[in-house]
Symmetry: C2
């Protein structure tokens, strides 16, 4: 077992978000003709992306991608980390690279020279602050096992994998290579289930993974219920506690809990004056937890950091920190 120099290395999609306010009516209109689930992520092709964008209101562009958002949060806490994800050699690719590196994170995945453009996620935010995501994966889906830097993986305490990667065969293979490299180094593998529809699409694979390869699982209520096909949260919770070392389960306003070795640790939600945009809530919860955990804090304190980070990110537009999360360290102490 080598001595880790990084807290977390994440493997995920490289996406630039285009976030736009919209109405319930617009969403209803789009749902008539297209597959689109309010609050969830739908994969779209380039043609549909162009079309949907032309119907959307003005946007703000900001680097996104679930695992990449988590790394931005980790950096804001003061953590050391790296990202493995695929952009193209274009303007949005430059923006994504700049934003990750400017946070002090390592990001050396070779950009795609020939092929699709850098991926983007068209996010529609309704007045209830819910986000409905439409992802054109683009270059991100070209992430392959060759992109997995095993030495880098071996240098991190935790390798954090994004469930959305399962939506493409090549990326799924990259996922397995990364998990194996982490375990070979004697380190932990974490997985976020990403969303209930993603779980639906890949339930069998995810169940196998959680049972055999995942040490730390992140899931919200809908995702964990979907994974074990249980109607009650408590039943799903029991099932997961038998299956992996640490499960971090979030329930929105009802708080969050960690289930580990038969013990449960609960943390209440933070009060948020005005929820503006829920994009990134789960990503930042994972950031706080992983920062605390890799810094040797106990499960409760780690979870509390996650809950604070999630509360910050939903109080403004965009999936990444505006405040410095390092300020939460004193508050949590």
């Amino acid at each position: 077992m080598s001595e880790p120099t990084l807290g977390v290395v994440a493997v995920g999609n490289a996406l630039v978000d285009v976030i736009s306010h919209t109405t319930e009516e617009f969403l209803a209109e789009q749902k008539k003709d297209f597959d689109m689930e309010k609050g969830a992520m739908t994969l779209i092709d380039e043609y549909r992306a162009t079309e949907l964008y032309s119907f959307m209101g003005p946007g703000i562009e900001t680097s996104g991608g679930s695992a990449a958002n988590t790394m931005a949060g980790l950096a804001s806490f003061g953590g050391k980390g790296a990202l493995i994800a695929k952009v193209a050699e274009d303007k949005l690719g430059e923006v994504f690279q700049h934003d990750i590196r400017s946070l002090g994170l390592q990001f050396d995945t070779q950009p795609l020279a020939v092929g699709p453009a850098t991926g983007s996620c068209l996010i529609l935010v309704t007045p209830d602050a819910e986000r409905t995501m439409n992802t054109y994966l683009g270059a991100s889906s070209e992430l392959s096992p060759n992109d997995i830097d095993k030495e880098l993986i071996a240098s991190a305490q935790v390798t954090y994998l994004e469930g959305y990667l399962f939506d493409r065969e090549q990326a799924k293979q990259a996922f397995s290579v990364a998990a194996e490299a982490a375990h070979n180094a004697g380190h932990r593998v974490a997985l976020t289930l990403s969303d209930p529809f993603c779980v639906d699409r890949h339930r069998h694979d995810f169940l196998g993974l959680v049972e055999n390869h995942v040490d730390i699982l992140f899931a919200n209520e809908d995702e964990i219920k979907s994974l074990y096909m249980q109607e009650s949260f408590d039943d799903a919770k029991s099932a997961v506690s038998d299956n992996c070392e640490i499960a971090v389960l979030t329930r929105g306003e009802k708080g969050a809990l960690v289930v580990s070795k038969g013990k449960e640790t609960f943390v209440e939600s933070e009060k948020v004056e005005k929820v503006v945009d829920t994009t990134g809530a789960g990503d930042q919860l994972a950031a706080g937890f992983l920062y605390g955990f890799t810094e040797g804090m106990d499960l409760e304190k780690s979870l509390r950091l996650g809950v604070m980070a999630a509360a910050e990110v939903i109080s403004h537009m965009g999936p990444r920190p505006e405040a410095s999360y390092a300020d939460f360290l004193k508050k949590a102490a």
Copy 2:
């Protein structure tokens, strides 16, 4: 005199803003080696833009440009308008076009096929919410008299010109052509002085314009003092009241006033719970005033709409409305 079908047509720079939080220390460090004035706009070349961007933290990208921001505000009030501004045929140009058109605004200026990229403005926001702007004009500086659609100008009650255009000779000529077309149609010309350093650079030209061609002038305290080289606001105010029909003067927290035909109308500032980013404050004040004015409201009510819009835009990141400004119409009534 033809019957106007639009409220306002604006002529200005087409820029995509890259907004990033920064520290006073970073600004101080940059100022050692480069021309950079806190709170003001500095013109930079492509080389410097690339360099500064590489030092900056993660950004959010959003369409900007002073006059374009004003038009976004006008549209949010429910006003009809058009924009004349120059982008390139590239990704940021597409974003800028999309954002303007998606607001229902007319935007038909031919993009630049060969030459510099779409312009961008690197905006550093310090903890005091002040923004320091570094503008790479790019394609925007290629706006020429040929881009001025005289029929479009003639169709609007007010032609609104951005002072920043004076920083390039061709754009300045376009400016004059637009003003002439507006007056030939029997309509009004409005000008915003943009910033005190811009006034410094072009004082002689601006004085001639205000005296002979401008019907509605927008300026903040520093700008109007700079224009007339007066140390006191009152002296500058007296000078401008002799020179143009309507002067809209803003004083930040000290409120705003309209000086017209020897009469003064004062409106107090709105209270803002937390000032996050002052980018766009002047632009949105102009939006509110121009909307009210072109809808036939009196000067006080028009100014009040402007003050409300300015208060909204400084309460969040970015230079354009997040709330619907049409909601202010009831409040102001």
